[in-house]
């Protein structure tokens, strides 16, 4: 077989061989952990630093503005943000732009509160601490003290308590979310009379301390579509809400201009963005080890190398097989 024939065959290779090669490259590195170094980028660090400067008197809003199709990229971001906020006792509002987003937000909460995993949090449901509420223990510290005094103990390895209604309001989904953001500029409770679990939002201490978006310090939208822009248009432009993006890699380049214009304080782009955040959390001592996103980065790096190799081989084949001359002739050049 001449060299030209070989390269022609390469150009006409059945694409299923390429799929198989990618599958091998993606599966094998999971069993040979390399731990390639990852240096968090500036856009992710600015989100981390912002949340790291918040405390129990501030509030963070996280929007699960994606559906299951981008779960692999967006969900690790949400989990990392929740862990960071809960560790610092920053009250968190959880919303969803899409109906399916609410289920994904619930799954993120389940993962963060899975007490079989070390470093997680125990979520105390709104109804569970009702007797303490009746006694007037609504401040976070007094509530936690009363809760522990009542004999409740953290499971081994758990990092802390998260009291629903104080540390967390799982607001969930509402349709026409752009109008919801607009309405939350005046009153969050008016847009969400009850939370995703049916609890009365207006009675929650978190809402009494943070009545509207003007009293929220940062909103992070985790999006797999242009839904994230809604937060800038109706949050930042209308009430001056500070916004950060957690978007899929495909969308990332579209939204860099918003960092440069100062409309968002930072951005997590794809799985890499989530891995960066996990690294920062581990460096900050909030988690003992990195999570799923970081683990995927070794695989990501090798898969990229494989794709670069294929692009190079494809180009060599294109020129070496004489294909360039043929296409040039067809094009009349």
């Amino acid at each position: 077989m001449s060299a030209m024939n070989f390269w022609m065959k390469m150009l006409n290779i059945d694409r299923r061989w390429i799929f198989l090669a990618i599958a091998v490259v993606v599966i094998v590195p999971f069993f040979a952990r390399m731990g390639l170094p990852l240096i968090p980028n500036r856009e992710v660090r600015s989100i981390y630093d912002c949340i790291d400067s918040l405390g129990p008197r501030n509030a963070l809003m996280i929007g699960w503005d994606f559906d299951p199709s981008t779960d692999a990229e967006n969900q690790p971001m949400g989990i990392a943000l929740l862990r960071h906020a809960f560790a610092r006792h920053v009250p968190v509002f959880m919303t969803a732009y899409l109906p399916l987003g609410q289920g994904l937000a619930n799954m993120a909460l389940e993962q963060v509160s899975d007490t079989t995993v070390a470093g997680n949090f125990v979520i105390v449901p709104w109804d569970a601490w009702e007797p303490f509420r009746a006694q007037g223990a609504e401040g976070r510290d007094s509530l936690e003290a009363a809760w522990i005094a009542a004999g409740h103990r953290l499971p081994e390895g758990s990092r802390g308590w998260v009291f629903e209604g104080v540390d967390l309001a799982f607001l969930g989904y509402q349709p026409l979310f752009y109008l919801v953001i607009l309405g939350m500029g005046n009153s969050i409770a008016s847009q969400f009379p009850s939370d995703a679990n049916g609890n009365p939002v207006a009675e929650m201490p978190i809402i009494q301390a943070h009545k509207n978006l003007r009293q929220v310090d940062l909103a992070v939208t985790l999006a797999g579509s242009s839904a994230c822009v809604t937060w800038i248009v109706y949050g930042t432009a209308k009430v001056g809400l500070r916004v950060a993006f957690g978007v899929t890699a495909v969308m990332a380049t579209d939204y860099y201009p918003y960092i440069q214009s100062g409309q968002i304080i930072g951005m997590m782009g794809g799985l890499r963005g989530a891995a960066d955040y996990e690294v920062l959390e581990t460096q900050g001592g909030y988690t003992s080890s990195t999570g799923r996103a970081y683990r995927g980065m070794d695989v990501q790096s090798l898969a990229h190398l494989a794709i670069i190799l294929m692009v190079v081989l494809g180009n060599i084949a294109y020129f070496a097989s004489g294909m360039r001359k043929k296409t040039a002739l067809k094009a009349g050049r």
């Binding site: 981008t70 692999a72 399916l100 289920g103 349709p175 752009y178 890699a249 799985l271 890499r272 995927g296």
Partner: protein, 209 residues
């Protein structure tokens, strides 16, 4: 138990979807239709649970707020689209939604997506004391924006030192943008595959720790 069933169903459907990479088959089509059907069903239940029941049905049936009858009837007019003789009635809720949407959204869209973006390109090219990389970035932003705009200016032939060179630089800037977007796209698609492989190897087969 239910979690285990869920994981098995998810794993089988994942493999069914990926079977398309070999060739199209009935299993793939079944999984594809299931995605559409379950997503729609889930959304309907969510809208009923989160909106229609607590914010319309309950207040109406408990006599708390009879004014809700007006938006409810207005919304129901959408359904008239299915009946040709009265289909014209559906134009009113559509017109209302379009009108309010434009009225509310247009000024804010202009402010956030157009004016703020233009403002971000009107910056001093040289700021005394600024680090070199920041100054270089500023020059690239200003010249890149101008060059890309020149490329899209079609009322003059792209010849000569201003339009010719400007449009050539513009096409390079646009190509670099496309390249960056394509790179991120590859990264995104691989990330999605990684997510599924993590699920299959970890949650389903318990091969990852």
């Amino acid at each position: 138990m239910y979690d285990l069933i869920g994981i098995w169903v998810a794993a089988i459907l994942t493999l069914a979807i990926y079977s398309f990479l070999y060739k199209e088959n009935p299993l793939y089509r079944l999984a594809e239709h299931l995605v559409v059907g379950t997503s729609l069903g889930y959304s309907i239940v969510m809208i009923w649970n989160q909106l229609l029941f607590p914010r319309l049905w309950q207040p109406l049936t408990h006599g708390q707020d009879w004014t809700l009858v007006i938006p409810a009837l207005f919304g129901i007019l959408y359904i008239t689209r299915f009946y040709p003789r009265v289909a014209w009635l559906s134009r009113y809720p559509i017109a209302f939604l379009l009108g309010t949407g434009m009225g509310v959204g247009f000024p804010l869209d202009m402010q956030a997506l157009v004016l703020r973006q233009i403002e971000a390109t009107i910056i001093p090219i040289y700021a005394p004391g600024a680090p070199f990389d920041v100054s270089l970035g500023t020059v690239v932003i200003v010249l890149g924006t101008l060059a890309a705009l020149i490329y899209f200016f079609f009322s003059k032939p792209h010849r000569g030192p201003f339009f010719g060179t400007g449009s050539k630089i513009g096409i390079w800037i646009i190509m670099i943008g496309f390249g960056a977007t394509f790179g991120f796209t590859v990264m995104g698609r691989i990330s999605l595959l990684i997510g599924r492989v993590q699920f299959l190897l970890g949650d389903w087969l318990h091969l990852l720790h």
